[in-house]
Structure formats: structure tokens, C-alpha cells
Symmetry: C2
Subunit: 473 residues, 2 copies
């Protein structure tokens, strides 16, 4: 009977997994079924140039939201209760990290100044679409339109820092006495935030490179190398949030540093794995965001709270959105920011949300569909211009020849570097970007890569013994 | 002034990421710092045969819990508020899926009957450690001790189904009138649950194989193939929970099917990526569980609630735990099951929790440390026995020769199969496991692989064009 008593005692405890919250399970089932459908349909229509995964997710999300709304008899279309933590802490970091990890660095930094100016200048846009970088991947291709991609995506990343500065500024400044000092103060805060966030990302990226290069050396294991990379990248983002810096900027630069140094120190299999796994995780997070946001778009409580006023604001915003030339791509992120602020005045909040939903729907479907055909049309007309651009990309090699025009080999011996450095100053004015890149490369190869690893500075690491394909069937 | 008003209106909304809950950020920072430390230290002491990642996580978790306890002045050591959803819905599925994905199938199914008997029989153990499979990876190696691994891990997977059956049984049966019918009823329910869960996993695994083979064919992209695999595996687990089946069993079999069919239809890069990414995610989830559980172990509320009674139970359980020969490895999972049941009678619950914590601590440190040296010692003594075992593994080839002893080629022509089939029945009695495997392989190659893909049944798929290594620096 001892067994019997124990069993009865145990039955008082929730022992089994089958006793999880049923509504959570139902919501997750519906959501993941849609998620799978979305990815598979998105893949099928990939070749259709008018559609993309974001539009599929949008339509599927809206349909599902509608079905849930009807099924729940107009009460509410809320299927999953999400909060801003889910978005800012778990979905956005992998997307931005992957962007930093996969970015074509030379091309990206070439347009750095333009990007920074756009990012600082477009302040109001930054509030409405603080983290609109997610949309960039859906409509712009890094390979086809590198310049546009750098500007739009880079601006989005810089926007995050700008929006933090602005938000803090709004809370602390007295706007009745705006003068030059305030503007300078804002600029100073922005620059401080920008550089500290970047520095934190670089430090953690280099730390990961150093750890992988030294500690993991000679006992590499593909299954163990991905974990510290992922976790340290995520840690950089969390630490930035802890220090009230821009997590987006930090994890973006952490990704850049990791792809430049850490990635070269791991095994061959790890390189393939990390590259594709980060891209896959980012892709899943992107689709997740689109699907979720539009499933929530039919939330009737918000629509009821916002009365006719929204129509006015809608047309206003749509005009701004269409009319402005700042290439701002509206994204669902904005929605999440607003929809999570439920403790504020509900009427204003609801108006903002419904209005943003319409702008986002409008811009995703319209701009999302026409971007690809538009770019194709423009590319066809300006093929010659692009050819020049492509030639310009190889000008580093030309510059190296310029530096070496007197026949000296700058890579050998430090005594011989005086001559090229003197001509370097002259060249810095003529070809600023290329010259900066040239000297950065020299510095990198001479001082940074020997310590932290990088292309050409780590011995070939074969895959670990456990990498062999499973022999059993 | 319009801009000014808009700005002030916006400031009422939570716009910026910096306004996330500060306590969440602090908790995440501490947790992920420890997480990184744990993985790096765990890697460094990997060669030490007395330690492993679980012991590192345990000690670091306890230290961190102690520091938090002191810092919060004995109030509580709770740093992160977790619930059973986190564990059962997000941490356990990737671990079990990876186990199914990486399992050496031939070796595993060879011991299927033994495993099943252990799993059904060890019912009381199943309640205290329903999902103890996580611990198996930490102390047993699939390569070094395949038999032990299959039995212990397989038993753990089957345990999950058993625990659901038992739990439902306890609630619905009248234990004052136990007779043979009840036992038969229980067995029937178990078998139903076991087969439906397995079938669901197989169906979703085959569905993913079919989708990848047909829809993704000729337009493979490594970044897009991992996502449907991950999501459909997760969907199988969630659907099982929805239908009150065993999610563990389902996702385990889904993993097996995916590695047998789906995995062979993707690009070469995808194969490397999925194999290692699943292992990495599983590794992260395992370390996460160990670290979390032991950070929570110093929760003084629970310790206070459980008075002297727990000492009695502790010695009782320790004796059972040490004395029994069922190879049950205590795992932190058990703790989570108990610690999440806060709405039950608090005194009993607290006793169960504190007692389980001690048993888990004890068994992780003691058994975790001595398992490796013990196995090494046993292996040295029984090398000859193992050699026989290894030879036995190649008996499929021998059997094939037996089948073909009259010189017929069974693979050609259906008319000639009567003779080997007749001798097959004779062989089934003499070599049951090998014969079943032989006929399964024939069936698989003839009917299943042509439809769903698999080794040798998909054309070589080169890596996608985007797989080329980034040329920029």
C-alpha cells in the first residue's frame, strides 16, 4: 500500500507534460501550422517577382486572424499574447546579428558617411520606424543593389541609436526653450551613444575571436564552436540594453567583427554551419514577425477605440509615407512598439496603432510588390552606370598600384613605408574611401589579425572526427 | 509647432527598446554571462574525465544562486522566473529532436525490445524522472558504449509515454479495486499512446521529406531548407501535445525519419549545417537547463517550507536511487516538474522539491563523475566481449550471404524471391533482429525511398549559388 499512497500523493502534483496550458498549446499549434505553410508557400512563389515571403506572411496572417475572429464570434482575434520583450529581446537580435555577419563589409563601409547622415537626419521617421531594418531584407538584395541596400539598411541600424537619443531627449529637455545648445547636446549624446554601442560590439566580437582562437585551438569540435559565438553575440546585445546603449548597433558590429575574425578560426564545417544557421534563424525570426503582426492586425478592440479620427491621420501618414523620398520602408516593428504600450492613454494609442497598421499594410503590399520590378527596370536603363560602379569596386587594386608606382613593396620592411605614407596623404584627398580602406587593411593585417585570427592568419583546421557522416541507415 | 506636438504625443508611448523591463535585462545579463562562462570552462575541462559540462553548470549555477541570495539579503535567490512551459515547450523538444536526428539507428533499434520493456516496467522511476534523457547525453557516449546508451536513453524516451499513461490512470482509476482488467487497460492505453505518438512523428517526418524532395527540388537554397525541417519537427511535438500524446516520443521519431529521408534530399551545405546546428541548439538547451535548475536550487522559501521530514525522504530516495539497478539517471527535469506545481499543497510540494534537489545534486555530481572512469575500467576488462559485439554488428552482411547461399540475386526479379523468403522465416527464429532489419531495408529501398528520398535515391544537389564564401574582407 506504500506504492498506492505514493501514487496518490504524486497525483496531486502536475507531473506530466500533458498538463501544459491547453490554450497555449492550441495557439502554438495554429501558429506553427501557419508558419510552415508560410515558409513553403513563400518558397513556391519565390520566382514570382511581385511577391515575397513578407507578403505571404501578411496575407496568411490576415486570413488566420480573420478566421480566429469569426470563430471567437467577434470577441477578439488575439491568438497569442506577445509582448515587446519577445520582439526586442528574442526576435530582433538574431536578425540584426545575421545582417552584420553576412554584410559585404567593403561595400557597406564605402557608403558609411551617407548612411550615418541619413540615420541622424531622419529623426521623425526614426520614431515611426525605429527598427525598420527587417523589411530591408525582404525587398532589397545585397548582391543586386549593394548601394541601395547599404544606405537603407545602414540607416535603419543607425536609426535605433537615434530613436533612443530622441526618446530620452523628449523626456528630459524643455522644448519651449529650444536653442543651439540643445541641438549640440543632442548631437553629442547621439555620438556618445553611437561610439559606445559600437565599441561594446567590437570588444565582445574580439573577445569571442580571442577565446575561439586560443582556447579552442587544437581541440576543435564543430558542435561546440557555434554555441559560444551565438551566446556572446546575444550577450553583447543584452549588455548594451543593460547599459542603456543601442542593442541593435552593438549586435550589428559584433556580427561584423565575428565574421571578420572569429569565423576564420573555427573548423571548415563550423564555417558552413554558422553561416547558414545564422541565416536560417534570421529568416525564421523575420517570418515570425510578419506572421504575428498581421494575425494581430484585426484586433477589434483597437479598431473600435480609434474612431473616425484615424481616417484623417491615415491619409496624412500615407501621403507622408508615399511622398517622402527618404526610402523609409515601413515595418511591422513599429506596430509592436505601439501595440505593447497599453498602459498609456488608450484612445491616442489605439489611433496610433490602427493608423500604423494601415500604413504598414499599405507600404508592405504596395512597395513590397513594386520594389523588385522597379529595381529591375532601373537597372536595365542604367547598366552603364552600374558598370562604372563595378569598376570602382576594384579600385583598391588600382590604388595599390598607385602606391607602388615607384616599384617598392610596402608589405616588406617598415623603413620603406615613409614614401607611400607621404603619397598616401595626397591620395586621401583624391580617393578618401579607398585610401582609408587601404590603410585599415594594412593595420588589420599587421596588428589585429595576428592576435585575433582572420583570413590567412589561422592554420587550416580540419573538421572534427565526429563530423563524419553517420554510417548506419 | 506641429512637430513639437507630435513629439510630445509620441513620448507618451513606449517607443524605445531601452524601456524594456530593467529586471528582465539584469537577469538576462547575469544568466548569459554565466552561460558563456559555463560553455567556455566546460570546454576547457573537457579532457578531464571526472568533470563534464553538467557539473560545471551545476557548480556555476549554485555559486551564482548563492551570490544572488547574499546580494538580495536572504530574501530570495530567484533571478529568472521560469515556468514549465519554457522547459516542456521550448528546451526539451530541440534536445530530443537532436537525439533522434543523430541516433545511430541500426544500433538503437537492435535493442528496441529491451528498451521498451525497461521503459514500461520502471513506472515509479518514470514519475520521478519522466524525461531524464537529457542527463544521458552528459555521461554516456553513443560511440563508446552504444548498448548502454540505447538502453538508458531509449528507456527515458519511452518513460515519457509511460508517465502520461500513469498520470491519467491515477486520476481516473479506482485503486481500491485493482484487478487484472485494470492492468490490461493500462497496458492497452500505453500501447495506444505509444503507437499513435510514433505514427504522428513518422507522418510529419515523411511529410517534410516529401515537401523538401518535390517542392524544393531544382531550386535548393541552404538558407531556406533548414527552416521547414526545424519548424515541422517542432510542429510534430506541439501537435502531439495538442492531441494529448507524448510529444517526446513524437519528436524523437520525427528526428529519426528526418535524418533517414529528408536529410538526404537537401544540399550538401544544408546537410552539414542541419547536422551541426541541431547538435549546437541541443547543447545550448542542455546547458541552459542545468544552469537554471541549480541557480534555483537555493530558493530558501522551499527549503523553509520543508522541515525535518525531508531528511527522512532524502535518505530513502538516495537509497532507492543508489541501490536500484535500473540505471535511472536523475535529471534536473524532475525538479522543474515539481517546482512548477505551486498551486498544490505547499508543504508536500516543498518537501518533494527539496528532496529531489538533493537527490539530483547527489546523483549528478557522484554518478556524473564516476560514470566515465567506471565505463573505461569496465571496457578494459571486457574488451573481448565488446569485440564479439562489434562483429555481431556486421552480421547483416553475413545474413545477406546466407540468403544468397544458393547463388540467387534477390534484388532482381520478384519471381525469385520465394526461395529466400521461405528461408527467411527459418532465419527469423535464429537471428530475429538481423532478419527484421534485412526485410525492413528491402522494403525501405523498394517502396519508401523512391517516394520520400533517402541515401542513394536523390540526385547530387550542389550547394546553392549564394553558398560561395564572401569575397570582401
Amino acid at each position: 500500500m506504500a506504492t498506492h499512497e505514493t501514487l496518490q500523493q504524486l497525483s496531486a502534483l502536475k507531473v506530466s507534460a500533458s498538463f501544459l496550458n491547453t490554450s497555449t498549446i492550441i495557439a502554438l499549434s495554429v501558429f506553427f501550422t501557419l508558419f510552415c505553410a508560410c515558409i513553403i508557400i513563400g518558397h513556391l512563389i519565390e520566382e514570382n517577382r511581385w511577391a515575397n515571403e513578407s507578403i505571404t506572411a501578411l496575407l496568411l496572417g490576415l486570413c488566420a486572424g480573420g478566421v480566429v475572429l469569426l470563430a471567437s464570434k467577434d470577441r477578439s482575434s488575439h491568438l497569442l499574447v506577445f509582448n515587446e520583450d519577445l520582439f526586442f529581446l528574442y526576435l530582433l537580435p538574431p536578425i540584426i546579428f545575421n545582417a552584420g555577419f553576412q554584410v559585404k563589409k567593403k561595400q557597406f563601409f564605402k557608403n558609411f558617411t551617407t548612411m550615418l547622415l541619413f540615420g541622424i537626419w531622419h529623426t521623425i521617421g526614426a520614431i515611426l520606424s525605429a527598427t525598420d531594418s527587417v523589411c530591408t531584407f525582404q525587398v532589397l538584395s545585397q548582391d543586386e543593389t549593394p548601394f541601395l541596400y547599404s544606405i537603407v539598411f545602414g540607416e535603419g541600424v543607425v536609426n535605433d541609436a537615434t530613436s533612443i537619443v530622441l526618446f530620452n531627449a523628449i523626456q528630459s529637455f524643455d522644448f519651449n526653450n529650444i536653442d543651439g545648445t540643445v541641438a549640440l547636446n543632442l548631437l553629442g549624446t547621439f555620438l556618445y551613444l553611437y561610439f559606445t554601442s559600437t565599441a561594446l560590439g567590437i570588444v565582445l566580437g574580439l573577445l569571442s575571436a580571442y577565446i575561439i582562437k586560443t582556447l579552442y585551438f587544437l581541440r576543435h569540435s564543430t558542435d561546440r564552436e557555434g554555441a559560444p559565438m551565438m551566446l556572446m553575440a546575444y550577450l553583447s546585445c543584452i549588455l548594451a540594453e543593460l547599459l542603456n546603449l543601442s542593442g541593435i548597433l552593438t549586435i550589428f558590429f559584433c556580427g561584423i567583427i565575428m565574421s571578420h575574425y572569429t569565423w576564420h578560426s573555427v573548423t571548415e564545417s563550423s564555417r558552413i554551419t554558422t553561416k547558414h544557421a545564422f541565416a536560417t534563424i534570421s529568416f525564421i525570426a523575420e517570418t515570425f514577425i510578419f506572421l504575428y503582426v498581421f494575425m494581430d492586425a484585426l484586433d477589434i478592440d483597437k479598431w473600435k477605440a480609434s474612431n473616425a479620427r484615424f481616417l484623417l491621420i491615415f491619409f496624412d501618414s500615407s501621403l507622408i509615407s508615399c511622398g517622402c523620398l527618404n526610402l523609409e520602408l515601413m515595418s511591422p516593428d513599429t506596430l509592436l512598439q505601439f501595440s505593447s504600450s497599453e498602459d498609456t492613454s488608450s484612445q491616442d494609442s489605439a489611433v496610433m496603432i490602427t493608423c500604423t497598421i494601415i500604413v504598414v499594410l499599405f507600404s508592405t503590399v504596395l512597395f513590397g510588390s513594386i520594389t523588385k520590378p522597379l529595381i529591375e527596370a532601373v537597372l536595365l536603363r542604367h547598366t552603364k552606370t552600374l558598370d562604372t560602379d563595378a569598376t570602382d569596386m576594384q579600385s583598391l587594386e588600382d590604388l595599390r598600384i598607385l602606391f607602388l608606382e615607384n616599384g617598392e613593396n610596402t608589405d616588406q620592411g617598415s623603413n620603406q613605408q615613409a614614401a607611400p605614407r607621404a603619397s598616401g596623404l595626397r591620395l586621401l584627398i583624391s580617393y578618401p574611401t579607398t585610401t582609408v580602406h587601404y590603410f585599415w587593411r594594412k593595420f588589420d593585417v599587421k596588428f589585429v589579425r595576428p592576435v585575433f585570427g582572420g583570413r590567412g592568419f589561422v592554420p587550416f583546421v580540419p573538421s572534427s572526427p565526429t563530423d563524419a557522416v553517420d554510417e548506419a541507415s
